[in-house]
């Protein structure tokens, strides 16, 4: 028995390779004129959804993204990778910090889940901008569904799924009941490159836009960002003359010996 639908959350974030800068007024990270990409963990979640489809384990993969107009580019990427259709929840609020609360994000996704009725929700384990890592657990809790975070492998079998989870001490394998929320970790898969014909096809796939304000979720932020500052510049290293010199410095300056 294959799943009817997988919903996959994809977020637009500052590209991981960009060296972020703090805006002049210290209000946050500079977003103007900065390369944005799909959050790497969302990309893995998206790949997993498409693989389920290709293996005949699910019928439809639907990508969803909350964000400004440009989040549509991220959704088009998900469609070019192989998702069937996309839902754009539009908002001008920041999604890294000081805009939408993590709880509001989970609540907005909950509304989409209630409407789309997927058997499985796949999201990244965290987004590399806010680094909250809260979407999967909050969403599962709101829905009253099972959850499996930090997935390193996923095997769907009818109404259950076996998930290998990354933990500090190695991995553990758990079996969960569907419907469920699963968050993707780095080793789950290696995302594909969108191929030419699929890039073209993606332009014709349905993309529905829904105003975040219309979903009946309280979007007022409860988290206030007081200020954002860059980390202190690292002091330049010194070359020590000898091993004795090194030992001396470790003892007396670093006080670690």
């Amino acid at each position: 028995m294959s799943l009817k639908r997988v919903l996959v959350g994809v977020k637009r974030v500052v590209d991981y390779a960009v060296r972020v800068r703090v805006a002049g007024d210290g209000s946050g990270v500079e977003l103007a004129n900065v390369k944005m990409s799909m959050n790497p963990f969302c990309e893995i979640a998206c790949e997993e959804a498409i693989r389920l489809k290709e293996k005949g384990l699910c019928e439809e993969a639907v990508a969803v993204s909350i964000g400004p107009k440009q989040a549509q580019e991220t959704l088009r990427s998900a469609l070019a990778m192989g998702c069937d259709r996309a839902i754009h929840i539009t908002t001008d609020a920041r999604l890294d910090q000081g805009g939408l609360d993590p709880l509001a994000v989970a609540q907005l996704l909950q509304k989409i889940v209630e409407k789309e009725e997927p058997d499985l929700v796949l999201v990244g384990k965290q987004s590399i901008d806010g680094d909250h890592g809260t979407t999967a657990p909050m969403l599962a809790e709101l829905l009253g569904w099972s959850q499996a975070t930090f997935a390193a492998s996923l095997n769907v079998d009818g109404g259950t799924a076996e998930v290998e989870r990354e933990t500090d001490a190695g991995t553990e394998v758990i079996k969960i009941q569907l419907p469920a929320v699963v968050s993707a970790d780095l080793r789950l898969n290696a995302p594909r490159y969108p191929k030419l014909p699929n890039i073209m096809k993606a332009k014709k796939k349905p993309l529905e836009a829904i105003d975040a304000a219309s979903l009946g979720v309280d979007l007022t932020p409860s988290i206030v960002v007081e200020g954002v500052a860059p980390p202190a510049a690292r002091k330049a290293g010194v070359t020590v003359e000898s091993v004795d010199d090194l030992v001396d410095k470790l003892k007396n300056e670093a006080a670690v010996l």
């Binding site: 590209d15 991981y16 390779a17 960009v18 060296r19 004129n33 900065v34 390369k35 944005m36 990409s37 799909m38 790497p40 990309e43 440009q70 580019e73 990427s77 070019a80 990778m81 995302p191 594909r192 490159y193 969108p194 191929k195 030419l196 890039i199 073209m200 332009k203």
Partner: protein, 492 residues
């Protein structure tokens, strides 16, 4: 340009295939031999002199094909020290080979015999950037990647980029007029270099580096004479380079083509649909692709097709939406076997590694005959096909790749059994003559060095070569600067 490449680029890898001793030019008998007293005198003039076993690595070139016998390496820290070293060597008729990052591919940066090595790596100060004009002023020994990182901090980029960026110096780039993967976008380094400070053979410092402005038509453009002179006319100590502003939005498409004609069509379509955001067009043939894939087992070709060519097209612009629309129009307009777009920066880097890794991949497998030629695009790939045919019976690997956007082909022939005279004799002078017949250049970007002076006549008239000889004698009357390189003995 790419946002960041945290990959490879320390090019001093250990190589297992050592070359036969290449026949070298006879030592000029008018040159003196370094005595102990000279070493003492040079020590007094230069704050760092490297001697003995420590000097050995400076003698062997990057390709492991050429090796000199310099006793000492002078590593001056200032222009004044460069001047003092040259003045002394000129007076004593001691030959000098200038060396930057030693990544040159024609044996130009290592001595042929016992020339003193003058290493520029300590001339590595970045003096500053004029943000109004984008002109950066820095010492000749600054490593290209270091300069680029500095510029990026200020939202500019270096106008050139090449696989050896982590090791080569801006002075070496200028001395070889290096091209690289950004040429198609920013043009020749000759246009970007607005000022130079250099030291003549007799130690005279010529300061043409007092500008941060792009325009200056007062008299002869002396810096141009030094650009591409490969250490034979003077030592470049400082430069002023006009740099473009950073284009933060980068995309890379990777395409599979069934024929070289298809590759050419991709290029013309890229030019017309991508316009000013086009920042690189590189190609690899099957031989090059197989070699680089073998050398990078961690990277997969995202296209599964057997099509014999891959083309890498990079765009860099300053408006993500506008760039994406252009890229899409380009992808719609081309007719290729298969293709994809790198979804992430690491995917872009992986594709670039495949392209830039070809050279190393070939070198690590066997003895490589390397040719760097420019040819009319319509017949460019014929040379690879003819070479394959010519060597068919000899069981060697032939690969063609390069900067197709500049009609620049790198032809590599790799012999896993090592050097064979038979192979060499079939390749040279045949390759050079073939190129000359098609009115191409026998050295599109690597220069002449010690490997090609005897073929210079294939590209230059007698009159042109005579004038080069005259200029050389004006700048360096005792012929101490990088002897046996660039010019054939007949014009001196």
């Amino acid at each position: 340009m790419r946002l960041a490449r945290h990959i490879r680029r320390r090019t001093d890898a250990v190589r297992s295939f050592s070359a036969p001793t290449m026949p070298v030019a006879k030592r000029h008998d008018w040159l003196s031999t370094l005595e102990d007293a000279d070493v003492a005198n040079l020590n007094a003039r230069c704050s760092k002199i490297i001697e003995g076993a420590d000097a050995k690595p400076y003698n062997r070139d990057w390709m492991d094909k050429c090796e000199g016998k310099a006793r000492i390496v002078a590593q001056p820290a200032t222009t004044e020290e460069v001047s003092a070293v040259l003045a002394y060597c000129n007076e004593k008729r001691l030959a000098v080979t200038t060396q930057g990052g030693k990544t040159g591919l024609v044996g130009g940066s290592v001595p042929v015999h016992d020339e003193v090595i003058l290493s520029t790596t300590r001339l590595n100060t970045i003096e500053g950037l004029d943000k109004d004009t984008g002109v950066v002023t820095c010492g000749a020994g600054v490593v290209l990647e270091t300069l680029d990182a500095y510029l990026r901090e200020h939202d500019f980029v270096a106008p050139l980029d090449l696989g050896a960026a982590g090791t080569c110096t801006i002075g070496g780039n200028l001395a070889t007029n290096a091209g690289g993967v950004r040429f198609v976008r920013y043009g020749s380094l000759r246009g970007a270099c607005v000022g130079l400070e250099f030291v003549k053979a007799d130690g005279t410092v010529v300061d043409c580096a007092r500008t941060s402005l792009r325009k200056d038509n007062t008299g002869y453009a002396l810096p141009q004479l030094l650009i591409g002179s490969e250490g034979t006319l003077g030592v470049i100590t400082k430069c002023c380079i006009a740099c473009p502003s950073l284009s933060p939005f980068v995309n890379v498409a990777w395409l599979a083509c069934n024929s070289f004609d298809e590759v050419r069509k991709v290029l013309t379509t890229a030019r017309s649909t991508l316009g000013e955001i086009l920042s690189a067009v590189e190609f690899l043939d099957r031989g090059a692709l197989d070699a680089t894939l073998r050398a990078h087992p961690d990277i997969e070709d995202p296209l599964e097709t057997d099509a014999p060519f891959r083309v890498l097209v990079e765009t860099a612009g300053c408006d993500a939406t506008h760039d994406a629309a252009k890229l899409e129009r380009f992808l719609e307009a081309i007719d290729v076997e298969d293709g994809c777009v790198a979804p992430t920066t690491s995917a872009m880097n992986a594709l670039w590694t495949l392209r830039e890794g070809v050279s190393d991949a070939m070198t690590s497998r066997g003895f490589v005959y390397k040719y760097d030629v420019s040819l009319p695009p319509s017949t460019l790939y014929d040379l690879v096909e003819k070479t394959t045919e010519r060597l068919e019976h000899l069981d060697v690997d032939v690969a063609g790749y390069g900067h197709v956007g500049d009609a620049n082909l790198h032809l590599n022939v790799c012999d896993v059994t090592g050097y064979r005279e038979e192979v060499h004799a079939l390749l040279e002078p045949w390759v050079y003559e073939e190129v000359a017949r098609s009115r191409g250049s026998i050295s599109a970007e690597h220069g002449v060095g010690q490997c090609k002076p005897e073929y210079l006549h294939l590209n230059k008239s007698v009159e042109a070569m005579d004038l080069m000889g005259s200029l050389k004698k004006v700048m360096d009357p005792h012929l101490i600067l990088n002897p046996y390189k660039v010019l054939p003995a007949s014009v001196l």
